[in-house]
C-alpha cells in the first residue's frame, strides 16, 4: 500500500523477496561466468594470444576501427575476431572481407556476451585457424554487444578491456556510466574527425574519465582520416610484446 498516492497492491513486499532471490542467483551465475572466463584466458594464452574485450554503445565505431586495424596489422600479427551481436551476421561479414578468422555470436536477446559464449567462439576461431594453416593467434578481439552498461559486469577472460565513446555521443559519458570506465584498462575516443561538428570537450571527457579511473590509458582515433591510428597500432603491438 502506497500512502502518498493511495494505490493498493503494488506488490512491493513480493518484489523485495524476488529481488533478493535474483541477487543470489545472479551471484552464483556470475561466479560460474568468472570460472569459465579464467578457463578462456588460459585457453587463449595456450593459443599464444592476448585478448581484448571491446565495449561501447551501438554505433561507436568498433567494427570500423577493427576493419582498419586488420588492414594495418594484417601483415605482422595473426589476428582473430569474435563478434557479439543480438541479431545478424553483418559485423562478421564486414571483418571476414578483410581476410581474418572471425566468428559471429548472436546472443538472441541478451544485452552482453558472457564467458560460455566466448568459449564457443574460441572453438570456432581454432577451427578456422586450422583450416587456414595458422598455428595460433597473437591478438584476439572480442567485439561485445553494442551496450555501454551490461557488458561491464561480465569478465570474458580478456587481458585488456577497452571502452569506446564516439564524438557524436557527447563528452558526458564517463560521468554517466562510471562503472564501465572503472573496469576498463583503455578508453578510446573514436570519430575524432567529427570534432568540428559537435560540442564535445576533450578536456572534460579526459578529466572525468581519469577521476573515475586514474590508471586509464586514453587514445583518440579517427579510423576515417587515420588521425591517431599510429598510437592505437603502437598500443596493440605493445600488448603483444609485453604480455
Amino acid at each position: 500500500m502506497c500512502d502518498s498516492c493511495g494505490c493498493h497492491n503494488h506488490g512491493h513486499e513480493a518484489d523485495k523477496d524476488a529481488e533478493k532471490r535474483v541477487v543470489e542467483v545472479h551471484e552464483s551465475l556470475l561466479a560460474a561466468n568468472n570460472r569459465q572466463a579464467d578457463e578462456n584466458r588460459r585457453h587463449m594464452e595456450a593459443m599464444g594470444a592476448v585478448a581484448i574485450n571491446m565495449i561501447s554503445s551501438p554505433g561507436s565505431g568498433k567494427t570500423t576501427l577493427l576493419e582498419h586495424t586488420v588492414a594495418a596489422l594484417g601483415g605482422s600479427l595473426r589476428m582473430g575476431v569474435i563478434e557479439g551481436d543480438i541479431e545478424t551476421e553483418r559485423d562478421a561479414e564486414r571483418i571476414r572481407k578483410k581476410g581474418v578468422p572471425v566468428v559471429q555470436i548472436t546472443t538472441g536477446g541478451a544485452c552482453h556476451l558472457d564467458a560460455p559464449l566466448v568459449h564457443k567462439g574460441l572453438h570456432g576461431l581454432e577451427h578456422q585457424a586450422m583450416e587456414a594453416g595458422l598455428k595460433g593467434f597473437d591478438l584476439i578481439f572480442i567485439e561485445n554487444v553494442g551496450n555501454l552498461v551490461c557488458p561491464a559486469t561480465f569478465y570474458l577472460g580478456e587481458h585488456q578491456r577497452i571502452v569506446l565513446v564516439s564524438v557524436p555521443e557527447g563528452s558526458d559519458k564517463p560521468a554517466k556510466y562510471p562503472f564501465t570506465f572503472k573496469g576498463a584498462h583503455t578508453f578510446v575516443i573514436t570519430k575524432t574527425d567529427l570534432l568540428p561538428h559537435f560540442d564535445f570537450s576533450m578536456e572534460e571527457v579526459r578529466k572525468e574519465a581519469l577521476e573515475i579511473n586514474p590508471e586509464l590509458r586514453i587514445l583518440e582515433v579517427s579510423a576515417v582520416t587515420g588521425q591517431g591510428m599510429d598510437d592505437w597500432i603502437d598500443y596493440l603491438k605493445g600488448l603483444v610484446t609485453v604480455e
Copy 2:
C-alpha cells in the same frame, strides 16, 4: 567437461539450474513490474496526461530533442519530464532550465527504468506541479537510461513508446536490435543534419524497421536545424487531442 578443448569444471550443469531459477524469478519480477505499470498509467491518466517512454542508445539526442520540444510547446501544453540515468543529475538540470517540472531518477547501476522507479518520479512531478500551481499535465516524457536493449523489456505505463536512433549510429540498428523496434509505436531518426557526413541509408533504415514492425510511425528530425520538428510537434499534439 568440454570434449573439444578438454577443459574441466565449466559448471555448465550448475549454470542451467541457476539459469532456470533466474528465468522464473525474472518472470515474477516482470509480472510485478507490469502491475505497477498499469497503476502508473491510471495514475497519469488521472493527472490528465499522455505518457511517452523514450528509448535509445546513449548520445542519440533524447535530451536535446526534449529541450527543443519544451521550447516549442511550452506555451500550449503542460509538460513534465522524468529523467532516467545511471548516475548524475545533468539531464534534469538541462531540462529544468527550460522551466518545466522535471524529476531525475538515478538507477544506481541498473540499465533501465522500471515501473516502481517511475512511480516515485510521478509523485515528484505532482509535488512540483502543486508548488507551481499546475493542476495536471498534458504530456509526461519519460527519458529512459541510455541503452537500446534493456529498457525494451520494461513497460512503465506509457501510452507511446518511442525508439530513437541518431544518424551517426548507422542505419543497421533496427535489424541488430529488432526486439526494441518491435515494441515501439514510433521511430524517430535524429541528427538528420549530419546525413552529408555519414554513410547512412534512410531507405535501408526505413525498410528494415518496417519489416520488423509494419505499424511503426517514422519521423526524421534535426533539433539543431529545426528540420522535421513541425512533424514531431504535430505528432505530439495529436497524441494529446486523440487520447
